[in-house]
Amino acid sequence: MVAARIPPVLSATAALSTFNLLTGLFVSSLWLSGAGAVGGAYLLLRIAAMRRRKDGDTPEEEDQQPAVRPMAVADRAVDPNDTDALVAQFLAQGRFPLLLRKQVAGNLTPGQLEKAVEALHETMALIPEGEVTVGPEWRDEEGETGEGEPAVPPRVVRVQQLFLDRYPVTNRQYFEFVAAGGYEQMPLWDPAIWPAVLDFVDATGEPGPRFWKCGCYLRGQENLPVVGISWYEAAAYARWLGKRLPTDAEWIKAGSWPVAVSATSRHQRKYPWGDVMDRSRANLWGSGPEKTVAVDEFPTGVSVGGVYQLIGNVWEWTASSFRGIDCHGDPLLLPTPMKSIRGGAFDTYFDNQATCQFQSGETLLARKHNVGMRCAVGACDLVLARLVETGENDRSASHEDGSAAGAPPAEEVQT
């Protein structure tokens, strides 16, 4: 009986075992082939990584490599007697304000003048003249101002019509200045700072911004704002272009876009886009990649006048001195003279430090990772202004006010 009953069980067990074995083999072969494929791919990736490391070219290091040196406009030799070529060179370098100076504009053909004016409107925004309130306004996180009357009251400043760069100066734009020998052209620099100019070098000892290498910006950073420049470098670059740094009042006017609501009062925006902080409109701490971004990013943060990134990405040097006022409006003691910087940067933490009114300071020789620049030029310094006013295409138009080219206009203070 037992013998009679065993075979079917055995046969069933054997069949099951065989089935299991076959299934196991099939699954194992599948797994092995899959694992083999994964393992093979992994091995190939490892070999590729090892090769890259051997060549000293890991992805992180790639970002730290200087860019392949682009062809600078100054690299192409220009015949000094060829006016067309010279004008083309100036336009390509972004030095059109020099063409629009009274001394030069009169010698341009209408076509050349038109190109210069086009370049002006394309790259710079017109900021109308008017009054703007400039003053200590340090609000805490709850939006409350400091207690008591500030020791230094806000000032009302009249700003003349000016053009302000739509975007912060990029590495690529600054490269033109470096390639054209800007660091060797001593007339561009304040004589007092000549000894320090030799020390304005990049990471490899070449003249240029602090974080560049071999006299060139790093790979993939051509459209990022230039940083690691002192106030003197910013001023020299602006002078080379025929522009200047904006004053505090001009910068605030471009951002807060004041509108007169009565004879004595005006409404100024807290941010270029309005009165409410919206971190999605600016590259600040927590709203961006925690590093600088291209100057045309965050387009929703544009000001009424069409100026981008006034808030966030990088602080911007201004021509004004930093007065040093604390939250109560009391003056601060500065360890060294400082220049005013405005706008906040990608690492600015508090909302109340990324407003049009907030002012911080930096020593003139500081070359920080988050301080860049944008340039301005007074409309009164350009022949264009007279052409617009009179509607005449008077190529010999000259400027009457006699103000020094590139010098910021005097501020009129009303109490």
Binding site: W138, E141, G324, Y349
Partner: protein, 302 residues
Amino acid sequence: MTKSVIQPLESYRLAQYALPIRCYICESENTFDAEFCTHCLAPMALAHQANSQKVCPKMVAVLGPSAVGKTVYLGMLMDMLSRRARKLHVLARGAFSITLQQTTLAALARGEFPEKTTNDPDHWNWVHCQIRHPRQRHPLELIMPDMAGEAIFEEVNHPHAYRVIHSFLRKCTAALVLIDAARLRDGQREQDYFTMKLLSYLRELNDDPKRGWARRPVALVLTKADQCDGCQDDPEAFARAHAAGLWQQCRDRFRTYGFFAAGVAGACAFRENRFEGRRQVPLRIEPHGIIEPFEWLLKYLT
């Protein structure tokens, strides 16, 4: 005439007072309603939370001399981690854990540094938080107090002067040691000496070769690095150049250590008045290198 009534027996409520509660820091017994440990002055809320949540939080010390920036560092770290999403972030345990973050950030937003931490342990801010990381299933419970620099100095020079510090450092699993980079750069050696004494103290506190401080992770954070050129680029090279003794001691006495650079203020100025004297004030707040040393420590705690 008598009338029987049912009188609820509430004496059981007194039983909880009879049961002692152990302080989470010094493990001394305290009564149920004690706010601070009667022996070390650590908040008893830590023990209550540990008991109620059935977890034993790990402890990380933030150490350094007076005015090095411990309060700013810890307050800023908590605030930065609490504002981040989809990354390493913290969740405060209990309202008291947010006080440090609140006071520090309010002061910085006003353009001031927070008030100096007093030497009284019952006035210190303790942070009990839950650390969450998207890649880790289980959150990590941590306790980090903001201790006064002068009290730490006193305890290092005279062990057992501050029982809370002594007990806390015995149980700590890691430490963030802050060093003022600006003073090191200016050639002031007190920072160097203090940190060397502190590291020696830690080693002597628990010299067990397997579980002692020799094996516990120590992050050496050079604060105010924004004021020192080159410090942020290579903190270890900066330490080797300006605090050679400290750098050598770390190499010889600790197996797991790392040098980091941190800064909170982009630039500083001074305010002077009759009442406060001369005080340094930040011109703007742009934190750098705050999270990195903490993240590095967490790798060894999880």
